[in-house]
Amino acid sequence: MQMPAPDARVMAKKDHVLRRLMAVLPEDAVIHDPTATRAYECDALTAYRCPPLAAVLPASTAEVAAVLKICHEERVPVVPRGSGTSLAGGALPTADSVILGVARLNEVLEVDYPNRFIRVQAGRTNLSVTGAVEGDGWFYAPDPSSQLACAIAGNIGMNSGGAHCLKYGVTTNNLLGVTLVLMDGTVVEIGGAHLDAVGYDWLGVICGSEGQLGVVTEATLRILPKPEGARPVLMGFDCSERAGACVADIIRAGVLPVAIEFMDRPCIAATEAFAGAGYPDCEALLIVEVEGSPAEIDDQLALIKRIAMAHDPVELRESGSAEESARIWLGRKSAFGAMGQLGDYMCLDGTIPVSALPDVLRRIGELSAEAGLRVANVFHAGDGNMHPLILFDANAPGDLERCEALGAEILKLCVDAGGCLTGEHGVGVEKRDLMGVQYRPEDLDAQMRVKDVFDPGWLLNPAKVFPLEVSAGRRAG
């Protein structure tokens, strides 16, 4: 993975840029000491690191605007950062860039139950948005695994999903409005507590634009009343084809589970050793959760179990209590930790049509054997969002490169099956050089034209999303 060489012109005027930033921000909001900037050298994709020129922590929209205006005038690249939990390297700096962290923008600005929204500063963590309203029986639906730490700003940048999007959608379906600061410092209000746009759907294109179009400082989010209850059922199958067919039949039957999670044998084995959730010894495991009143849940689970029986499950276990529900979810929720015990891993998140599941899983098994690297699969099966975890040893020479090569092959497989490179993590730098697998040059050109409109100088997070050779002419301009 390559990053552009730092701009010597910017490096040469570091002190000048710092002085200008310090003139508009409090002293402790400009971080430039080389030991301190190390904290911002990477995000959760730790394989790639580079300390930035400086990191700034503005505490208001006005401060964000002042920072961007200065960087725009000085032509300094800016890398926006939420909480730094990106698995795709979305917040990876270059040596000539300023990291713009939104962590100090963490206030709740307005809660309005009759109109079903909350307005927050965008550095607020995902889980604390729900935390602000759950006492009154409400929640914010998108729930990425990193929700304890990840910021709403990053959720918007990556259009984050989670385990419950089968029913509630992803960030873009739950975002009503933003305050956006453009690279030249212009502050724009988009959307609000009302629905839909009168002009172009700016919210739609900003959500998932990986911090390349502007910096989101405030967000109006849709909140939902909590369901009366939820209950999972666990099913084991002796082959992934049966599990895949069961998923499709459940969806066709008109039930809309809130989550359908899938784990394959390597993942089941790892989580059993780690968490001891009591999962059955089988090839494929599904956890299906439905919501409603106790009677509604009974009816839905009865139907789901009837469907599952037609696919010869080796195990069918319905939760009878909160403890049993927690136990069913325990293994799934520990999956990433369990894999971490086995060694280093790379987590992909390609999405495929649900119908392609058995074929893709078989092919991943073959590719894994060819590469001599173990792959475990755990994913959101209802929407086809896979999470193959490739195990490798970061200390073994060449292992990371073999792992990356296998990852690329698996993602190409997802695209060939009618899917995409990334379902919820984003492109960042991790999948940047694979964009040509999914999109033709003219498709990428159309996307880059949108960036041309918002950020003509290509200063915002410029080395992400688009392969460097594809964006070269624009970045130089």
């Binding site: 999007c165 759907d201 294109v205 990334t422 918002f454």
Partner: protein, 366 residues
Amino acid sequence: MMRPETEAELAGIVAGAERPLQIEGGGTRGMTVPGDGDRLSVAGLSGVVLYEPGALTLVVRAGTPLAEVGAVLAAEGQRLAFEPMDHRRLLGRDGVPTIGGVAAANVSGPRRVQAGACRDAMLGVRFVDGRGRVIRNGGRVMKNVTGYDLVKLMAGSRGTLGVLTELAVKVLPVPEAAAVLVMEGLTSEAAVAAMSAALGSPFEVSAAAHLPEAGETWLRLEGFAASVAYRAGRLGALLDRFGPARVVEAPDEVAAMMRRLRDVEDFADRPGDVWRISVRPSDGPRAAAAVAAEAAIFDWGGGLVWVLVPEGHDIRPALSGIAGHAVRVRGAGPLASPEPAPLAALAARLRAEFDPRGLFNPGAMG
């Protein structure tokens, strides 16, 4: 009128165009200013490309009639979740509504409050840009964050950024049962409060509307029959303080009520202009009063206000203190609330990037 039969033919027409083009699907709404440019119909690009009921996905060419889409889905017990309006009665037009026309205008009906808008159901697009190039974006899977979401940008762009040729949409199963709770005699303010209470409950209300002239407030529930019956009971109890509710369960009657709401049938045969106003729900009654509407219908829990006003009456100045926007749906051409200046500047630049020769639907989108 030009009526290409393939995407390649359409791309060739755009590439060689020397005058502006008026793009239309079934011509049921007329999104452009009449007389300005050559008419280009997408109706020839028709048919289902791929349908996977088990994955809830449909890929369809843009000119496919909405009725055909509906029939294909119904055969598998599925439907478009966003319940698009049929404009023909309200506008007094004929023609055949197409899925591309619906997408280009982001047409979303009463179920918007629960299932999202048309744009939320759109997974992928193919379109021809102003240079005559075929562009693909998105795909056919439900979760996709690979690159920018131009799908959302195309939704509601009224053909001004490109000519839609194909789209992939998420579909949903048709539920086993539906019922409508009907409350009578509420003021608009009380009705919005009741609808907010209903939409703030866990009972999954899939439409919430108030029809002041009929003196009725409607709350729709959908799902398995036993669940609908249970929720109707709980919801009635929850709303007891607003007055009694009766439950309409007959499928034909429920369908007729929702069609009447969705298609704004109450304004169809009456003179005057029709506007739709999008505001936060609690501002709905204030918006209707501010524009001195002859008649109003509140959908989306109060957040979507349909108003009937005298012909030629511009309601926008009266709404200046209320956050949201207004669009004229019936009257002398399209008219909409202006965007803030920075967004209008971005819109002009975006349009110039995607349609540098200014071919597409001059007059649409301001």
